[in-house]
Amino acid sequence: MSAIAEPRVTAPERHDILSWITTTDHKRIGVLYMATTLMFMAVAGLLAVAIRTQLARPGSELISPHGYNQIFTLHGTAMIFLVIAPFALGLANYLVPLQVGAPDMAFPRLNATSYWMFLFGGLTVFAGAASNEGAASAGWTSYAPLSEITISTGLGQDFWIVGLAMVSVASIMTAVNFVTTTFIHRAPGMTMWRIPIFTWEMVATSLLIFMAFPSLTATLLLLFVDRRLGGHVFDPSFGGSPILYQHLFWFFGHPEVYVLILPYFGVVSEVISTFSGRPLFGYTGMVLAAFAIAGLSMGVWAHHMFTTGAVNNPFFAFVSFLIAVPTGIKFFNWICTMWGGSIRYTAAMLYAVGFLMNFLLGGVTGVMVASPPLDFQAQDSYFVVAHFHYTIGGGSMFALFAAIYYWWPKIYGWRLDERLGKINFWLTFVGFNVTFLPMFFMGVFGMPRRIYTYSGEGALPLLNLVATAGAYLMLLAAVVFVANIVISARRRDPAGDNPWHGYTLEWATSSPPPEHNFHRLPPIRSARPLFNIEHPEADQS
């Protein structure tokens, strides 16, 4: 691709701290986002190891009940709000302008504001741990009245509310930026039906953020009013309603889980297409499926409330079942993308296939828990814990690592070590399944989530011990990952502009790209402009 991205002498880039604090460059903001989320991930991951250590044996007294409640609250809150979702926002910050051939995001200063609000929001949530009664301890859902001032008396809950409100507003501002950038800053020739799939998934994600996050902000605000300003919105003794809290929370909360997965559908689509050497199969269907999932996900929130006896279970069950259809479309398209290809097994591709294997189990168990009668047992049990870890952990997190291995050379100009990357993958894959597969059985056997201890009867002690062993395997995998970065950073194995033979626009510029992304853009005649250059004979326009 040297004909497209001529190496050119540009002003030396500044890399002092001030330049990072004041930057409005989407690439640097993207890197800041991703680095921050990986830091939060390290903390949240260690909290998970603490959880598994406590539960390794029945009756363990390693961690106090209050300490345990803080730990799982912070683990869940961090992984959902501060890791999986914002990593995707960071990745998209880096990639969306590159993929559509724009010099930057539509609103660069708004973009910087979003990042800094996100960072300080996240730090605020964690800062609660330093308050007199410790961090928030009512779970990541913080159901009222448990989270009300009468029960959760500590400041930690307020830190949690204020921090997440900042993260929520920051997400909405970023979503505005993505949609505007994609809709009006595309390069000439980049029609809507030529937008790369990752960017399409980010458009769908952004629309979900528009619809869902205002409900989160409102819920947090109402909870704060209840706690500190004498409101009684969720207090039944004054006519308030705990059920209302659940409606408002899940009206945000279920679309949120698709905010956590749609970007990673995009990642996996890009990675599978590149390493199979084939175009994404069913591109149009994939885009429509993303919007079908986004639309349907707005109408399923009360499937989190099947056991309240206060919602129309059949309606929410049916809409939840329907989501299996567009999700199935995605699976079949991924398989057909590999079909007839010549697949190169890099670390990124291994993670993408790992995603397919794990997420499938998350998907089919998702259809199971969408059946209200089944949910009467599964709800709030370890079955649900297993299910959502297969989607967010085995799914999103695997794709997150695929993204790191795939786009790292573009961001830094050198690649991560492939052999360590593969070891990293296999340890994560085995560790993940050893941890979470037993949890389906724990749930069926009657183990509720969010308990710091259990008795020694029946099969629970053995299942828990196995799960803990798996968690330590994943910890080892994380060590290998960090070692990979350190070792590869010393070696700096040059990657070139297009190390994987990708066909989307980000591979048409240098690695790392210049400040304004492209010195010259290639002609754009399809969703894979670089393929058209390589194969002029196949150019159909």
Binding site: P65, G139, Y143, L146, I151, P236, S237, S241, P242, I243, S276, R278, L280, F281, T284, T307, T308, G309, A310, P314, A317, F321, L322, A324, V325, G328, I329, F331, F332, N333, I335, C336, M338, G340, G341, S342, I343, Y345, L361, V364, V367, M368, S371, P373, L374, F376, Q377, Q379, D380, F445, G446, P448, R449, I451, Y452, T453, Y454, S455, E457, G458
Partner: protein, 218 residues
């Protein structure tokens, strides 16, 4: 006491619930095995080798196939919805003349079981209460809470119902197996959530009558 292993499926409603579990589990396994098989086949068959150095085709659509994999799963989920609807209606059917009526009040961290025209049983996490039910007869429950949201869960009957403050939720259970089963709180409620258990002792109808008399004499 039976606890923390394969559920005993100890009620008439649980028999229907177990059917739901079975149908959905089989369907899930069937779909998963099919799709896993396709993924692994494609992943192995089309890996880059000396015999497969380059992609064979750049074909990226197939309308009949795409329509098929949209319609197929749609039919499957509609069928599953019909199953789920029937089972939920069976499970939630109410009887007009229950043999016993119990109001359950959950609180941090214990339970009060108030039998209509009978005893009131109370116990906290330190000394969990025991509920006695007649086998083969239907008991009507009213569940509520006096502080935060809890959930009344009997894993061996595959059933739970949230105890929400300010709200009463009603359902029936018809135990079919005698024995003692573990019950517990299913919704996170703070410090002693893990210890908020109770026991359900299912006895013969004459045994139940004897227990009522014994409690009345206390």
């Amino acid at each position: 006491m039976h606890a923390q292993s394969w559920p005993a499926v100890g009620s008439a409603q649980a028999a229907s619930l177990a059917d739901d579990w079975r149908i959905f589990t089989y369907a899930a396994i069937a779909v998963a095995v099919l799709v896993w098989g396709l993924i692994l086949f494609a992943a192995v068959r089309f890996r880059r080798t000396r015999d497969n150095p380059a992609p064979r085709s750049q074909k990226d659509q197939n309308a009949p196939l795409e329509i098929a994999w949209t319609i197929g799963p749609l039919i499957l989920v509609i069928a599953l919805f019909v199953v789920t609807l029937r089972i939920e209606n069976t499970v939630e059917a109410r009887t007009a003349a229950p043999a016993a009526r119990i109001t359950v009040n959950a609180y941090r961290w214990g339970w009060t079981f108030s039998y209509r025209d009978g005893p009131t049983i109370d116990g906290t996490s330190n000394d969990p209460p025991e509920m006695v039910l007649p086998v083969g007869e239907t008991t009507a429950f009213r569940v509520t809470s006096s502080d935060v949201v809890h959930s009344f869960w009997i894993p061996d009957m595959l059933f739970k119902r949230d105890a929400v403050p300010g709200r009463v939720s009603e359902f029936d259970l018809t135990p079919t197996k005698e024995g003692t089963f573990l019950g517990r709180c299913g919704e996170f409620c703070g410090l002693n959530h893990a210890l908020m258990t109770f026991r359900v002792r299912v006895v013969s109808p004459p045994g139940y009558q004897r227990w009522l008399k014994y409690e009345a004499a206390q």
